[in-house]
Amino acid sequence: MPHKVGIVATGQTKHTAKRTDINLRELITEAVTRALDDAGLRMSDIDAVMLGNMEPFEGFMLPELWSVEGWGGLGKPAMKFNTGGTVGTSTAIAAYYFAASGIYDTILAVGFEKQSEGHTQTAITTVGDPLWERTMMAGAIGNFAVMASTYVHESGVTEEHAAKIAVKSRRNACNNEYAHLQMPNLTVEEVLASPYLAYPVRRLDFCPQSDGACALVLATEAKAKKLAPQPAWIKAVATAHEQQYMGDSPRRLADMRSQRAASQRVYKACGISDPVRDLDVAEIYEVATYAELAMYENLGFCAPGQSGKLIDHGVTTMSGQLPVNPSGGVLATNCIGATAMIRVAEAALQIMGKAGKRQVPGAKLALATGYGGNAWTDALILGRE
């Protein structure tokens, strides 16, 4: 049986387009220091460190080597993870595995990215197979646009539905002091007036590029109870992968086989049969508005073709039955190596009752997801019990 593991502390930087005041190492230190302070721990109390970053965005090979003084890793057991958009959840799940196995008691997990130093869409284009896909690919924007066109065709969601998601995200972000894009007055009309990056995806349908870092402290049961009055217990984790080529699952965004598989696995482990009823909050990895709509279906929040109705009826807004991304989500902040970990951190803050102005009252059960490489999904369920 795995040991019980809880998240006891989180730390985030104020995510923004360009942190030209500090370097990558110093950015990491900022998040790590905040997480240690939140836990009331010193670096010497940490047994092991798990790191998450996507190297092509900064052009560093082994950024963990260059930045080691920034995350206190000298002489400590450490591992680095590099799994695309899922990197932050993969890193958190790896930390969970090490704690749940009983190998380490107190683990620091860190995700970081400084998008401003490189060229995000250029680097993402190298995800494509050099013989088959790289020549056509236009970063994540192009891939999501192609997938969104299929989803729009099959589900009947409209530009207005997508725009409502864009508005929800950037308005929610105003309650999150760490979020990058905070737009309190954004309207559906403004979203619909923004230019197409790649049809049907408009500028305000897509996430920003952010500089930011996120850190978590995970601890096994006895330690966790000492370190936090209400730890966010990790109740289930899952990872699932897709086939390699974009066209292997032509209905990629509509189907999202990996997301269905990962979410069904964690739901089953927690006895969740109706996620909208059973979950209190979800922090999901939605790179584009259309992705969030498709994910409503693939995460079981609604029946096929009903995602537009979900946002029309406000089910996923802060006052709805299942608030999705009170933090503003990826549409408000995307520092890729940190982004999926921010989903976990924000879900943990909700469970710990420390989410401030974005707190969902009485949240007891939360879902966090990661999505990467246009293919992979990670899912975690956090809870009070």
């Binding site: 190492r25 092509p56 900064e58 080691v68 003084e69 206190g72 890793g73 130093e117 060229h119 013989l131």
Partner: protein, 147 residues
């Protein structure tokens, strides 16, 4: 490329711009002015160059600054047989070396040219040689001369 073993050549080019952060900025601007700065934690004797803004060992800010004299010891080196970044001048060889500057506890890595690679040895005393025209960057140091 043979017909049975198809090889596809492709070049990848991505430009980057790195922010040095406050400590490295002071270091790089010091190099422009012909000065080498090291930093350490107040109350601790350890000094690092290039400097850090934060010490990962004691988990404290490293804001105690020292200017180093520009002399040091060659700790290790390799004579590079072929031109890497730049072709050397006639008779010159490129040397990649680690120099522990006097007053520092870490080594500075640098690439420089020499006409007498045979005279280099571990433990040799060296002195920094500056380029006459300098911008904020490690290239402000032309190399290290044997003392």
């Amino acid at each position: 490329m043979s017909e049975s073993h198809w090889i596809v050549k492709q070049k990848i080019e991505i430009p980057f711009h790195y922010t040095p952060g406050p400590a490295l900025l002071r270091f790089l601007e010091g190099l422009r002015d012909g000065k080498i700065f090291a930093s350490g934690v107040r109350g601790e004797s350890r000094k690092t160059v290039p400097p850090l803004s934060f010490c990962g060992r004691s988990w404290k800010p490293a804001d105690d600054w020292t200017e180093l004299p520009g002399t040091g010891t060659l700790e290790s080196f390799a004579v590079v047989p072929h031109g890497m970044a730049e072709l050397p001048q006639e008779g010159e060889r490129i040397v990649f070396g680690l120099v522990k500057l006097d007053g520092a506890d870490t080594c500075l890595a640098h690439l420089f040219h020499t006409k007498e690679p045979g005279k280099l040895k571990v433990g040799a005393k060296v002195r920094v040689r500056w380029h006459a025209e300098r911008s904020p960057g490690i290239q402000a140091i032309a190399g290290f001369d044997l003392l």
